[in-house]
């Protein structure tokens, strides 16, 4: 758990970079710090592991104030991932990954087992990469190593500063999915900086939208999209926020909402869509197909019903707009 209590940071000349922040990140929660560049989100993140000093207030990590702890000890218990991966070019992949366990004095066997486990987690063969150097890896692979390095000593809390920001969109998307799957398993308490609203919606349990060092709204993605608290929030999430919120729902949600039942009739010449696809993708499929309907199928290819733009509109009305009071 990370608790921010009246946290402020004032630079020389009375520039308030962070202005009286109060927020809590619960155990196992994935929270995104979202905002335009220069809003203070990175500064706020770096205050957690004392890379930036705190002018006023207190930050408690796992119940302990960062003022009470030695910064070196504190940092070894918090995973830290940065955008440019920050791998040490002079060390092999194994040495890079195991740097924190090494500082903590783990024995060789324990380190090796941990390395093998983590590499399997991100789908890289440990023996193929053990002795290689960072420059021999692709950007996506380097970033995966950057992530598992932060997880090496199994810290309960992780700080991630735009970790996937430098990757091309296809790789970024894939690594986001991978990381979400890992998070399902490891349940870390994560604070994640992003300037990308789509990434925030996809990844976060909650989003803290920040502007000029203040929190504008701290809510679930759905709430932020459907009930922006003020003009800044609704402007930041964009005019297409209804469309964006579609990526939070899957076709299955729609099937459940309307109790769709399999129509036995065989429809010829139509495309099929899996029920776990997001509604956003479903809409664009429908618009691309120039077809009136797509057949919804489950994992076993059983037909669950047919999807039309009309149906999505109904769902949207019920689920998204219906919540706008």
């Amino acid at each position: 758990m990370i608790e921010f209590q009246n946290v402020s940071k004032v630079y020389q000349g009375d520039v308030k970079a962070i202005d009286d922040i109060n927020m809590t990140v619960n155990d196992g929660e994935f929270v995104i710090l979202l905002g335009p560049s220069g809003c203070g989100k990175t500064t706020l993140l770096r205050m957690v592991n004392v890379l930036e000093s705190i002018t006023e207030g207190d930050i408690r990590v796992q119940g302990k104030s960062s003022k009470e702890l030695n910064p070196i000890e504190l940092r070894r218990n918090i995973g830290y991932v940065i955008q440019s991966n920050g791998l040490f070019p002079n060390m092999t992949i194994e040495d890079n990954t195991m740097i924190v366990p090494d500082l903590l004095g783990w024995d060789r066997k324990k380190k090796r087992n941990r390395f093998n486990y983590l590499m399997d987690l991100v789908g890289l063969n440990p023996d193929d990469y053990r002795k290689r150097f960072p420059h021999e890896l692709s950007g996506g692979q380097q970033q995966r190593i950057g992530v598992i390095r932060a997880m090496a000593s199994d810290p309960p809390v992780m700080l991630m500063d735009e970790p996937f920001g430098a990757l091309d969109p296809i790789i970024r998307h894939r690594i986001q999915d991978e990381f979400l799957a890992i998070q399902q398993e490891v349940k870390k308490t994560i604070l994640f900086v992003s300037h990308d609203i789509d990434e925030a919606i996809r990844m976060g349990d909650r989003i803290a939208l920040i502007r000029e060092g203040k929190i504008m709204q701290y809510d679930t993605p759905t709430e932020i999209l459907t009930h922006p608290k003020n003009e800044f929030v609704s402007e930041f999430v964009g005019q297409d926020r209804v469309l964006k919120s579609m990526s939070l729902y899957s076709v299955q949600d729609l099937v459940d909402a309307f109790n769709l039942e399999s129509s036995k009739q065989e429809v010829a010449d139509t495309k099929m869509i899996h029920s776990d696809t997001s509604l956003r993708v479903a809409i664009s499929m429908l618009l691309n197909q120039e077809a009136d309907q797509i057949v919804i199928v489950d994992q076993q290819d059983n037909q669950l019903g047919s999807l039309t733009l009309n149906l999505i509109e109904k769902f949207l009305h019920r689920e998204v707009k219906g919540k706008e009071r």
Binding site: I72, N77, P89, I99
Partner: protein, 219 residues
């Protein structure tokens, strides 16, 4: 009249002395570089934490390197005469150490300062102490540049070391010095040739050490 065969004859006849001078020369320069590294590398590293002092120290080191060597030896004679060492090995050693400081300090300072700030940030964020960061990350990454400074200083010192013979430090400068005063071109040539050979060997050796000392990942 100077001919190649005469030169070879001279070298053959005086080989014992020539080798002794070469060894003396190598010892003087080797010791000077060792001391220069022990002073210059830690100083260069320290200066990265103190920008203002860095300016000053680098300027002082630049001034030393502009002083003609013969003048520097001259200055040291009265100073070191106070401890009875006005001429000989000690003043030569001190002069060479001073000349080595600029390339070694400046290269070390630049090497450590040039480490990618993101890498430094990651090292800090991971929980390394300043010392661990230096030993495990910054020095290994800066190694090629630090070693380049040592190589520059070594070659520079082998040249200047020849002039130190004027104040009685021995070495290959003795051949050049007495060759000039006796009008013996063969002696002068031999001295010059062996200085060059020594410089080439030293540079080759240091290049090899540089390669061995540079981590594989950044070669």
């Amino acid at each position: 009249m100077f001919t190649i065969s005469q030169l070879f004859n001279y070298i053959q006849s005086d080989l014992g002395n020539i080798i002794t001078y070469t060894i003396e020369h190598a010892q003087l320069v080797g010791l000077a570089i060792l001391i220069a590294i022990i002073i210059g590398v830690p100083l260069g590293i320290y200066l990265t934490t103190n920008e203002e002092l860095a300016e000053t120290i680098l300027q002082i080191a630049s001034i030393f390197i502009t002083i003609p060597s013969i003048a520097l030896f001259g200055i040291m004679i009265p100073i070191l005469s106070n401890i009875g060492q006005g001429i000989g090995f000690l003043p030569a050693l001190i002069a060479l150490v001073l000349y080595s400081q600029l390339p070694i300090i400046r290269n070390t300072y630049t090497a450590i300062n040039n480490v990618d700030p993101n890498i430094r940030d990651a090292a800090k964020g991971i929980g390394m102490t300043n010392f661990q960061r230096l030993i495990k990350v910054e020095i290994p990454i800066g190694m090629p540049l630090i070693m380049a400074g040592v190589r520059t200083a070594t070659v520079l010192n082998i040249g200047i070391g020849a002039i130190a013979a004027f104040i009685g430090s021995g070495g290959l400068g003795v051949l050049i010095n007495s060759g000039i005063s006796r009008g013996n071109t063969n002696m002068v040539m031999t001295g010059a040739i062996f200085v060059s050979i020594l410089a080439l060997i030293a540079d080759f050796l240091l290049k090899w050490i540089q390669k061995k000392a540079t981590p594989k990942g950044i070669q």
